[in-house]
Amino acid sequence: MKKKLVILASILLLTFSTLSNAITLNDLQLLFSKNQVIRADFTQDRYINGLTSPIHSTGKMIISKELGLWWQQKTPFAMTLKMNQQRMEQRIEGQAAEVITAEKQPQLFQFNHLLTAIFTADIKILETNFAITIAEQNKQWTVTLQPKLAPLNKIFKSIVLNGKSYLETVTINDMQNDKTELTFTNHKTAKLSQDEQLLFR
């Protein structure tokens, strides 16, 4: 389910400036809402059992609190994903876009809605869906989300977020012992330029 990409985007908002020893969910929520815009480059490696080499891809992404998520994979092929509260659009280069809206495809969209709960650190929804553990070592923090309910718990064992002043890595452990590692670099928080705003259209 490619739409779950949003989770990444959301997590990127975890930009902790100062860290205490006991971070609570309330702290998280506060910290989540700090930056209006975040950009970053990403590299992704998927380790699937039985495959000789990991599946490697790179690209960049923008999260705007106002406009939603824009995620673009550049290599090995171009794929763009746009997402906000009402609609989601995915386009593979050279093909028509696939659009999913909250109104017409609630079952598919609902999942994404759940993930946007992470985006806003909606404590109620997060606690309903995940068991959350938070740890800190040498100013490097780790948040582990373990899904509690179907269908999330059928797909993911755990989602581990790691970072310092920004979110740096995300590790997704699938139920089949496959693993995906995402690394974010080159974070920027400047306001959206006009060109960038157009990307969300």
Partner: protein
């Protein structure tokens, strides 16, 4: 006199015994039929069976029966606790009257579903995936899944289904799921406030419950709802189902029958006691009413096998007419019991009685013209009821009226007064003018409306719940859909496949928002799907192996999913109701259409020759109502012209003016009956027309009796007064019914008949000139 009496005693007795035997037989038949028949209470079944389309009626009835059996509940637990939902599900399962309960999809179900979808992934290839394969874009879609960190693709999945066909069609299906989702293994939907509601739906064992049974079921369901609220006080529950409506309708009708029946009998009893000063006439009248009702009931149950609730309610009004025959005879005895034998009285009256029977008879027979089962039942009930009462009067009364007190001058003063009152020219003019004024006022405000939905008052509480369910699930209960049918399942499915692209086009043109269709491809389509996969899979597989993905080459087992297999499988869950196969092999599927924006464009998609038809029963019925309303109004106009011509011809010897005057009671009664609609803001519909027919049929009696040269005006007037009073008593009481249609019917009849009675002396004046 005594001689005359004894001469005929033997004949009378023989006749009476014969009738007694018949009546006893009929009573037994009534008992037997009554316990074995069902009471129908759906408004739709009151409507014509006659089809305006060529869709096989067994198919439509099949779907209708099935829909009648469905019950739906939405439950909103507090804090998303599933315990009450599960309790409700389990409790329903224990009920003997419920055949299956749905809404819970456990692990086993999901596993079976997945296995079935995997096993038949080539056959079940959805149109979107098929397009991707043929446009050679499936590979890049597979890649997008591979590269998506959250797709959860495993090596096992890649190995067994390298083309990701199962995944692809499942995702595409989810995209078309409408307002409902599966949440925590339960079917659920969210309302506007974001509350989660869980849906549980069940099917009754049988749709043909009789009144007592369905009442019992509703009560049982009420009780377990009560239990639910006791266990979890804050849990909300909504319900929907034909059962609830029909139970409401039956209990309302039951109340109506009891109230109207009792009141009209009480009224008649009081009337008879005050005129006859004896118990005997009451017993006699009740006897003929009873025999009449039993005869009517037996006739309806024999001919139709069931009785409609509306028939029962309207039939109470027949009491007023059946009692007329008793009254005519008893009045004759009351006034002339000392001068003539019971047999002589009968002989004197028999022709008048027969005439009265005939006019009512004809009016009811005209009702048979309209193809409405409910009205046919009413007509049959009335015709046989009247015959039963009539025969009771002529066979039994002469033997039973001994010792009836005689009051020769009863009401003489009053009746004379009334007759004298009408002798004044000015008064005649004034009354007619007043009536004309009322008619004019009423006709100005007259509105026509053929919408059948307005004929039934639905309980507001049930309707609110239904509205809420619609807004949460976004599934309307309009019963507006396309039906696709064919001689075989395969033909139906092929027709469906040819039709769906057109429907998709209409959808993208914005004519409607959503449609729902079954997920079973035709045999032909399944084979085509397999061929497509065969053709396009090699290049995808080689591309995948270049990426280092090793996959099992697909094996194409040729087994085909039949309609039967599909119905038994988990795959058909939630869509089974849309498919129907008859024993003959004839099959049909429904495509419910939601969010209609442009109905005329949608209608154009019907291709009856191709087995595709836009079914909108309510709309069809409205059209039919309009058609028959116009048809009947023409018939009535014709009848009125004919009747007036007869009156004019009959009274021609008294001069043109008097002849014209003789038509006034009939014309005024029709006019007032019509005007009454405008005055009380009731719309004119088919039922008003039917009431008009009875107004004419019954009202004319009064003019006929009063203008009859052979009988005394006073005694005729007394009998007519009694007859009119009893008729008004019974029809007038229909006004207190809870059903708008019946209320309107009663109102038109009462006002019309009252007018006919009021102006009847206009005709009698001719006679006395």
């Amino acid at each position: 006199m005594n001689n005359c009496y004894s001469d005929n005693r033997l004949t009378l007795r023989r006749r009476a015994i014969l009738w007694l035997i018949i009546v006893v037989g009929v009573i037994f038949a009534a008992y037997y039929l009554y316990i074995n028949s069902k009471i129908n209470s759906s408004v739709l079944s009151l409507l014509p069976k006659e089809q305006t389309n060529n869709v096989p009626s067994e198919l439509i009835e099949g779907f209708q029966n099935r829909l009648d059996k469905q019950l739906v509940w939405l439950i909103k637990p507090t804090n998303d606790e599933l315990e009450p939902v599960f309790w409700w599900y389990q409790t329903l399962k224990k009920q003997s009257f419920i055949s299956q309960v749905n809404g819970y999809f456990d692990e086993q179900f999901q596993k079976n579903w997945g296995e079935f979808a995997f096993q038949y992934r080539y056959q079940l290839l959805d149109s979107k995936t098929s397009e991707r394969l043929q446009s050679r874009t499936q590979l890049s879609w597979i890649q997008s899944q591979l590269y998506s960190p959250f797709s959860g693709i495993s090596a096992t999945e890649l190995e067994n289904d390298p083309l990701l066909l199962t995944r692809s069609s499942q995702l595409n299906q989810l995209a078309n799921s409408g307002g409902l989702t599966v949440q925590n293994n339960w079917l659920s939907a969210q309302d506007e406030q974001g509350n989660q509601w869980y849906m549980i739906f069940a099917e009754l064992n049988d749709s043909s419950f009789n009144m007592a049974q369905s009442h019992q079921i509703t009560n049982q369901l009420k009780e377990i709802t009560q239990q639910l609220h006791e266990k979890w006080p804050n849990v909300e529950i909504l319900k929907r189902g034909v059962l609830f409506y029909s139970d409401y309708a039956s209990s309302e009708a039951k109340n109506d029958i009891t109230t109207i029946g009792c009141l009209s009998i009480i009224g008649i009893v009081i009337l008879i006691i005050s005129i006859f000063r004896s118990i005997r006439p009451i017993i006699l009248s009740l006897l003929s009413i009873f025999v009449g009702i039993v005869c009517g009931l037996v006739a309806v149950l024999t001919l139709f096998g069931e009785i409609h609730i509306m028939t029962l309610v309207m039939s109470t009004s027949v009491i007023g007419i059946t009692v007329d025959y008793s009254l005519h005879y008893l009045t004759e005895r009351l006034l002339h019991g000392n001068q003539e034998s019971p047999y002589a009285s009968l002989k004197k009256l028999i022709s008048t009685l027969t005439l009265a029977l005939c006019t009512s008879f004809i009016a009811y027979i005209i009702l048979l013209i309209a193809p409405f089962p409910g009205l046919k039942q009413l007509s049959i009930f009335a015709i046989f009821g009247l015959i039963g009462a009539f025969l009771t009067v002529i066979c039994w009364y002469p033997l039973l009226v001994n010792k009836l007190p005689v009051r020769e001058h009863i009401g003489y003063q009053l009746l004379n007064c009334w007759l004298n009152f009408w002798k004044h020219k000015q008064i005649q003019w004034m009354m007619v003018l007043m009536a004309t004024f009322v008619i004019g006022y009423g006709l100005i405000n007259l509105k026509v409306d053929d919408d059948i939905g307005k004929l039934q008052t639905l309980p507001s509480e049930l309707q609110q719940q239904e509205q809420k369910i619609i807004s949460i699930t976004r599934q309307t209960t309009d019963q507006k859909w396309f039906i696709v049918f064919g001689d075989t399942a395969e033909q139906t499915l092929q027709r469906l496949e040819q039709f769906l692209p057109k429907l998709d086009q209409a959808k993208s043109s914005g004519y409607f928002e959503q449609y729902q269709s079954i997920n079973l491809p035709s045999r032909q389509k399944q084979q085509q799907n397999i061929a497509i996969v065969k053709q396009y899979s090699p290049e995808i597989l080689s591309a995948l192996s270049q990426m280092g993905i090793k996959a099992n080459p697909p094996s194409f087992e040729q087994s085909i999913i039949t309609a039967q297999l599909w119905q038994q499988s988990e795959l058909s869950q939630g869509r089974k109701l849309l498919w129907l196969t008859l024993q003959t092999g004839q099959s049909a599927t429904l495509i419910p259409i939601n969010g209609i924006k442009n109905i005329s464009e949608i209608k154009k998609l019907s291709e009856i020759d191709q087995g595709i038809y836009w079914l909108d029963r309510r709309d069809e019925f409205n059209t039919m109502f309009t058609y028959y309303r116009i048809h009947l109004s023409q018939l009535i106009t014709g009848a009125v012209i004919f009747i007036c011509a007869c009156f004019i011809f009959y009274h021609r010897k008294y001069g043109l003016k008097a002849a014209l005057k003789s038509t006034l009671p009939t014309l005024l009664s029709i006019g007032i009956a019509l005007a009454m609609h405008g005055i009380i803001n009731q719309t004119l519909n088919l039922f008003s027309m039917l009431a008009l027919i009875l107004v004419i049929g019954i009202g004319i009696d009064y003019s006929l009796f009063l203008s009859n040269n052979k009988s005394q005006t006073q005694s005729a007037l007394l009998a007519v007064t009694m007859a009119a009073l009893t008729t008004i008593l019974s029809f007038g009481l229909l006004i207190i019914s809870h059903t708008i249609a019946i209320k309107g019917f009663g109102l038109v009849l009462t006002s019309g008949i009252f007018t006919a009675f009021l102006f009847a002396p206009l005709v009698s004046n001719n006679k006395q000139k």
